[in-house]
Amino acid sequence: MTGDVFHPEQLSRCISCGFCLPACPTYALTGDEASSPRGRITLMRALQDGVLPPDDATLAEQASSCLGCRACEPVCPAGVEYGSLLEQWRVHQWRGRRRPVPARLLMLVAERRRLLRLLGLLRRAAAGASPSAEVPTSAPSADGAPRAAGVQLLLGCFERGLFPAVSRAAQVLDPALTAPAAQGCCGALHAHNGDLAGGERMAHRLGAELPGTIVTTSGGCAAHLAAVLGRDRVRELSQWLTGRAPAGELRVDGRRARVTLQDSCHLRNGLGVYAEPRALLRSVAHYVELPSAATCCGAAGTYSLLRPRESRRILAAKIDEIEAAGVDYVVTVNPGCLRQLRTGLRRRRSTVRAVHLAELLVRVTSPSG
């Protein structure tokens, strides 16, 4: 009897109605109950009750093959907190040395604050030296602008290393956002990869480093921080910019640009934020909704590294849709999705560009200009 892997009241919420099945991307891939949210909860119960041994192979496989996208949550009439149950499950499955090596390495990097800062600086220098710098150099200077008290921009561990232009763009959009260089990782990476306690600790520490409202350009970070620090402490960028889209429009080849949005799963399914980024995009471009905008792109945090085969299958269908939509840009609100879509589009030699919402909005040219 394992007994204490899960909070019993969270586990007992599920009545196995199966309303989650059509929402689950991995069930769509396999058609196997074991890789559906309902089936996984049946497996969790078997673990909790000792029906299956702690090292059962199906338990290990299903805890790993779940994207953790939480698409099952908004469709669950019973209000099962699946994302939270999955975090608890992975604490058990990926305890000690059972945690996959790539996840361990990433977590180590995310804990090294100086390294993150250095990576960001290197990327920044490289981007600045390149003529294809993502942010227009004519961006208005933030100097002299009044700084809102207690509103700070989270740079994000992953984003800092890979996409430093995103946070710069966010600061161009709202010069009142301060971004202290001394800030760590929010811990979402840890919470989703079997170190729930570590993930919560890191979120609390970050909360102390960035007092007041934390604005983030990452849907994943937003959902994790909101879960640990409370919703009132956190605003994802599109929420923060609501009603403040830059004046003007984005033009491509002399016409209004056609853009689409790939939702951030945790932003949409965890925080219920999906109307906000769409409203911003509609105000500056011609917006096209992807049929599967709300469905995971296969990035899913570390998933694209740990389960590359499944991740690529999910991504391939997504890229098909994006190409069929006839858009100029696919916009993301999370750095993991950005990396995944850029990889997929590049592999396909697509002309569609994947950009972060902040990067897209700073390209808007004013009607007078």
């Binding site: 009545i15 309303f19 058609g31 109950e33 074991a34 199906t58 338990l59 019973a78």
Partner: protein, 461 residues
Amino acid sequence: MTLSVPLLAELRGIVGAPRVHDADGDLVAYSRDATPLFTHAPDAVVFPADTAEVAAVLAWATRHRVPVVPRGAGSNLCAATVPLRGGVVLVLTRLDRILEVSADELLARVQPGVTAAALADAAAARGLLWAPDPGSRTVATVGGTIATCAGGLRGLKYGVTRNHVLGLEAVLPTGEVIRTGGRLWKDVAGYDLTRLLTGSEGTLAVLTEATVALLPAPESGNTGVAYFRTLADAGAAVAAVIRAGVLPATLEFLDRACIDAVEDFAHLGLRADAGGLLLFGDDGPPDLVARHLDRIGTACVDAGAIEVTTARAVAQAEALLAARRCTLPALSRRGGVTILEDATVPRPRIADMVDRIEAIAARHDVRIATFGHAGDGNLHPTCVLDSTEDTDEVRRAEAAFADIFAAALDLGGTITGEHGVGAAKLPFLGARLGADHLALLRRIKAAFDPAGILNPGKLGS
């Protein structure tokens, strides 16, 4: 039982090794359906891809006396797909093609793994309606819908699944493939096996294809809500609505506890002070729908409704219906275990039945919330428990349900209106049918399934 290595090897030879799952965890995942309190693991889970594979698996099972439990999405509420005696769970969701939608003939041919919602969408795309509308339509497969003769929210005007099935392809437990009915609206050649198999709960044959009747889609539809002081008042209003000369497409009711649960999930702004509500709806040409809704509303006011409102937009009407479909799972917000039943009485006896359910709940000291298809006399009294660990509470709930079944029979009703018998209601079937009728069911079962391998321990056992 467990399957020997040579038996498993034969099975793998039929469908291919990747389509036979027998790891412990995989078996656990298929050890239950949407019915609480029934769990048993199979010995293998098999995913056939076509009729020939289904036939070969069944012939193998009859040869070796291995129980086979056919399964769609596993969303049934009578433990019809729990493999109580082990054996093979035969998952039919890979047979998921819509083979044909014909607007000229008003029919569709589908494989059993297509979901009810997918068939409805495909029909709608051609301006047609697939009428059966079970609450689980986004999940439930057409095969499972037919196997359980599912009802749903449109039963009053459109009937239930059996009224819309024209023909079936089915594999007998001995491996022969039969076709019943077909594309004809009139065909009396032979016993009506289409109707016999519809609602046979996977105990007589495995359905591998269905030809179903479609209707021209109604031009429009709308929905309204009438609030009452008590659920019994709402039940009494049903007769008044029917007397008003309207046959509504939808006539559902919810008690206070169900209203709260639905409101928690769907945030529709339902009144918090009503003891019960009637959700009514109709479809057809817009002016006719408006006139019918008006007449239903007036009948409700005359019957004592404290307020009547109609949906102002299609989206709002859809939201009301969607929320009603989620009532059962939403109720589990009140406690971790929901045991629901399906007692059905003649329409004029609904208010009596509601009163009896309340008395029974009080007598056994259990929380029972009631919702259901008022227009069909079909109630879903649902017992909400904190957990199954309180065995005394579970026992009291079971005693209460035994009384509810007895009350329904006493009022000229039945033990299950639409969920089915499965394993859950088998102990009560004799009280509804009598010994001679039960014996005949067993003889019919034996004629189809001489080895008794198909879904043993359920209907027909």
